[in-house]
Symmetry: C2
Subunit: 355 residues, 2 copies
């Protein structure tokens, strides 16, 4: 936290506050809870770029009509192991949570469930949905396409999404293994943070609006492009477009508007959710023991000087999650102020601690 005026708040209190804000913005009780959970969940794992900082943008989407307050999600097509949902322009976390629940239910009877969604919106941190599989002793996957902020391999303009993908699997005595990655070299949130702090970034992360490599992070918002994680990251992003966009009949590439500025426009992107029931392959206890062994074998690797620990994906986020459940979530003063302003406008009582 940058300032002594930053606050640290209890996760439960933030959840209730965020839910009250979404209700005041027009969502029903259940949907408001799902939205609050998706944002506070990201904060709890330390992914603050996808946490409460985004609440005002999402409320703006509801206010300006880009997202639908009274959305009714429908099953458009269904097979025993798959489904296609129409999100009816609900905020993305609502449709994504529903899709993942359905994937888990299908996996319970079919071994695997794959549920995709169209007519949707920005879904935030993909890890949140992949992790819905964990309490069911399942492996979860979530993938979305989105605003084309990235250049394709060999290109110098942003024409494809950096289409984040997340995987989650349970362990025994360690935290869950959770990978949540955009397919650009660096995530957009990381660049925007550097811009806010007026730092330089390594060349190779971003192209400027002129299509040339730049070390100024402000060039991204000025019309630049994220660079893909090599041709492999680009290739995966293409399959993100195919599985989330084309397969679902959703917008792809430049058809997807910017959720953070075009608050009055439907995003129309798509996403996919998959659950795999571990018990259909191996005893769950054995699976978890072997994941523990995977941790131990990898951590035993000799390290590059200066590296203190070989980390498994999601290990740091899990530690942050466990700590913040006890110690509370840090809320930067600027974020708290934005939330207080919005609460005032919506007539929602703000927690004392935030003021």
């Amino acid at each position: 936290m940058d300032s002594h005026r930053d606050v640290r708040m209890d996760a439960g209190e933030l959840l209730a506050f965020a839910a009250a804000m979404f209700k005041a913005a027009g969502l029903g009780d259940a949907d408001a809870g799902v939205m609050a959970d998706s944002l506070v969940g990201a904060d709890l794992r330390g992914t603050h770029s996808h946490g409460l900082i985004r609440l005002p943008f999402l409320v703006a989407r509801l206010r300006d009509g880009g997202a639908n307050r009274q959305a009714r999600i429908k099953v458009v097509r269904e097979a025993p192991g798959t489904a296609l949902l129409d999100g009816d322009r609900a905020l993305g976390a609502i449709t994504a949570t529903r899709a993942m629940e359905m994937a888990v239910a299908k996996a319970r009877t079919q071994g695997i469930g794959f549920v995709a969604a169209t007519n949707s919106d920005f879904i935030g941190a993909c890890a949140h949905y992949a992790m819905q599989a964990l309490p069911h002793d399942m492996i979860g996957v979530a993938w979305t396409n989105g605003f084309p902020g990235m250049a394709p391999w060999g290109g110098r303009r942003n024409t494809i999404g950096n289409n984040p993908i997340a995987f989650a699997a349970p362990s025994g005595s360690h935290g869950p293994v959770v990978l949540d990655m955009a397919l650009s070299v660096a995530a957009g949130g990381r660049i925007r943070l550097a811009a806010k702090r007026k730092e330089h970034i390594p060349k190779g992360w971003v192209l400027g609006p002129d299509g040339e490599p730049t070390d100024d992070p402000a060039d991204l918002a000025a019309g630049g492009a994220l660079l893909p994680l090599g041709y492999k990251g680009y290739g995966l992003a293409v399959f993100g477009e195919i599985l989330c966009g084309v397969l679902t009949g959703s917008n792809i590439l430049g058809e997807v508007p910017a959720w953070f500025t075009d608050t009055d426009r439907a995003i129309g992107n798509g996403h996919m959710h998959m659950a795999i029931d571990i018990a259909r392959f191996i005893e769950v206890a054995q699976f978890k023991r072997r994941v523990d062994l995977l941790f131990e074998m990898l951590k035993a690797t000799p390290r590059v000087p200066g590296v203190e620990d070989i980390l498994l994906p999601g290990e740091r986020a899990w530690r942050t999650h466990q700590a913040q459940l006890v110690e509370g979530i840090p809320v930067p003063r600027a974020v708290a102020d934005d939330l207080l302003t919005l609460a005032d406008r919506l007539g929602v009582p703000a927690p004392m601690a935030l003021s």
Copy 2:
């Protein structure tokens, strides 16, 4: 081709020759055909590192007992959408082909099929299996774990596989979109080729046996390590171990022997295969039109100077495939000589063109 003595051979003739070699090495007719198809298929797409050059190694695995000539693949567990196969130590392409066929059959009735295999062997180019979904208007995925030739992120020894993954999807008027990628910065085959040619490689591809960055590709075979494609490539490799190794009850990480040297040892790795039936989500014709649009939109991206074309994954391989079906497959003299020596030993008549 390096030498005027290199030959170019008809794909069908090579298929028949390779199948005859596998039959002479003890495989039944069907399995021999599957093996030949997997190798010649890789050559046809220009992935010569995974083509006929590997036939002598695979025959050595059958000869030395690491792989089982008379394997009987069994279904160990099954749910409507999933199955676990025991490969009975068959050469990996046999089990992988069977698993993919089963995934396609399940997808036809369930919308999705996910079939994993254990007690298996090296499967070669993953694209080959993902592409089995294409004639059925399905999207295919194949992923395998393997010999731990790569360092984890922050590590300086090879303790994890570079666990290649492949995706395939059909288009309308373009070739299929096919991504086949190892999760290291550079593929092992690329490094071995550079070593053979006594070239230098960029630092950042490989660590030497001392754990230090090196530009000498020979350091890899001397006990070095491939470097992962950043922490994201490493993270995906971890999920390759989880989905292919842990979930299937197979060997993981350092438990997996080197298929190319330990020809008398079972590999015991695992792999997974998935098929998604497009028609359960969207009309197939519309899907293909939209994939064509994806090609066109991406190709319209302004390019970095010197880049002639924005390529889709698998586009170059598809052109090579189409050309080589007509013009034949180039067989380097050294590979031809190895095949002739083996044919002589196995008593298989060699095609005239190869001599």
